[in-house]
Subunit: 317 residues, 2 copies
């Protein structure tokens, strides 16, 4: 890698995770840190202290600007970055990034987006920045975007504007059900590896896709299949994942409206693998973007709005 | 109450609860005990000891027979009463009650019912006895039966035979989501009282009934409604309950097939109130039977098969 200096510390700060990347002026990653100092930890030990310790260990210049997205901007976070209402233009969202007062360097937090509605209230924090990172792909026309995770988001955009979105508790339900429900007796901890390769994943996915309304009526079958048919813990984990993802995709397809082109899938790691495999099996075309790359690109764009031309600072030796 | 002597100790012994009724020869309740000594407690302190202590405190005769249903008959319970396979005749189920060996009195446990199938494996323990308790109402023709609970059961019967059934994790999901998920911040403990009276219950129920596939895509709205609209903890609890029950009834109606007459609803207490209110709102006719009375009647019938004419014993002074 070339010795181009960092121009930005890009930070994704969620409830349970903190990720920091030092980026050069082309957006390339120079350094990366991942820690479990999410909001629950950082709110106790101090946000600025936590951030500065990591930046110090990365030898970042004292005046390197920082752009943050995620729950750090919530009311319970560091500094509240009030929600931008839906329909939300992505560049307006980035332009609304809130300055952290009295910090020793330039720090801003990208706001979340709120769908204020009596019928379908919803909020996001962090996903708007990922979406901004693929702004070029959705600048024109209508798009359906799927962002899997603890709280999966499905969004409809038109000409780069978020028109409507909804949240799916898929990842959180997987965690809750496999550790806290009657299904915990059927699913061994750590049995979530290689789920995409397990035939049970696609079998349960297909059934759920065809009848997504049956979620609560199918969960117990995972337990009964173990009792009656001796299904293994690995198979049960893959079944639960297939069931939940099938319900998500099946219901979203019915309720989010169709689009002409492919669905934009923003995901990384094992989740990207599971959803790609699921969409392929359902015959639904997707364009995949890496979620980590997308959030960095979004933070870089926000930086261009606020810190430019401060991006040319020297990296400290 | 008349001084007719008890002829049976009827016992419903589940994972978390133990209920004992002393019944006279007409099936009327002479005495009742409820305790939290379900399987998790009783397996440690001893099943026979637990049962005999309660019977002693109830001053039951040393030779009063005992008929048990529920998880006490599971492999992890007191004595395994192997599942009767589906399609299951109710009288066959009761006739298959297993004797507890080496007990100081006549004790039998009613078996559960298993739907052995690669596609839709399912099991029940306890509900078959409730169903036997309303055998007269379902002796002829086809019936759809709804038994709400931690694990709601929906059954199709024909001429008194259980043809098929499925389990809905409705009650367990309510508990898990309101105490362990992100929704716990929106739902105060104990806020589940008077839910049926809260307009949010029927509002969320109606939406879920119309689109039961949207369950995982609607849960987060409860949180968002609190953040954006200031929804109260009581309203959120009623919303979650309405959402889950709406998904159950909506999906069961689509997938369990129709019946000509009313749905048989077997339930008691606040759950009976919620489901009655929900069915009425949906314009679905139901015939309600009290779940406690039904389980006692089922155990009494089983007793008739096995302990008769031992039912005329004297009550100890």
């Amino acid at each position: 890698m070339n010795s181009s200096p960092p121009v930005l510390a890009a930070v994704d700060w969620g409830t349970t995770r903190l990720r920091i990347w030092l980026l050069d002026d082309s957006g390339s990653v120079l350094e990366e840190r991942r820690s479990n100092e999410g909001l629950s930890v950082a709110s106790t030990q101090g946000y600025e202290q936590t951030l500065e310790r990591h930046l110090g260990e990365l030898q970042a210049a004292a005046d390197l600007p920082v752009m943050i997205c995620g729950m750090a901007g919530s009311r319970q976070g560091w500094v509240e970055a009030p929600y931008v209402p839906c329909p939300a233009r992505l560049d307006e969202v980035l332009l609304s990034a809130v300055a952290v007062p009295s910090a020793g360097r330039s720090i801003r937090i990208v706001p979340g987006v709120a769908q204020r509605s009596d019928d379908s209230p919803d909020v996001m924090r962090g996903e708007e920045t990922q979406l901004a990172g693929i702004a070029g792909q959705i600048a024109e026309g209508e798009h359906l975007v799927c962002m899997p995770g603890t709280h999966s988001k499905w969004l409809r955009t038109r000409d780069g504007v978020i028109e409507t979105f909804s949240t799916w508790l898929t990842g959180e339900l997987f965690e809750l059900l496999s550790t806290g429900s009657i299904l915990r007796h059927s699913i061994a901890p750590g049995s979530t590896d290689f789920m995409a390769d397990n035939p049970a994943f696609l079998n349960w996915f297909s059934d759920a896709l065809a009848a997504p309304e049956m979620l609560t009526g199918r969960l117990f079958r995972i337990r009964a299949a173990m009792l009656l048919n001796g299904t293994s813990a690995e198979e049960s984990a893959a079944a639960l994942s297939g069931l939940l993802i099938g319900c998500e995709i099946g219901a979203a397809r019915r309720n989010m409206g169709g689009v002409e082109g492919a669905i934009q899938l923003i995901a990384s790691g094992p989740l990207a693998q599971l959803y790609q495999s699921a969409f392929a099996h359902a015959g639904i075309k997707v364009v995949v973007s890496d979620a980590d790359a997308a959030v960095r690109a979004g933070l870089m764009q926000a930086s261009g709005h606020h810190f430019h031309p401060a991006g040319a600072r020297r990296r400290q030796a």
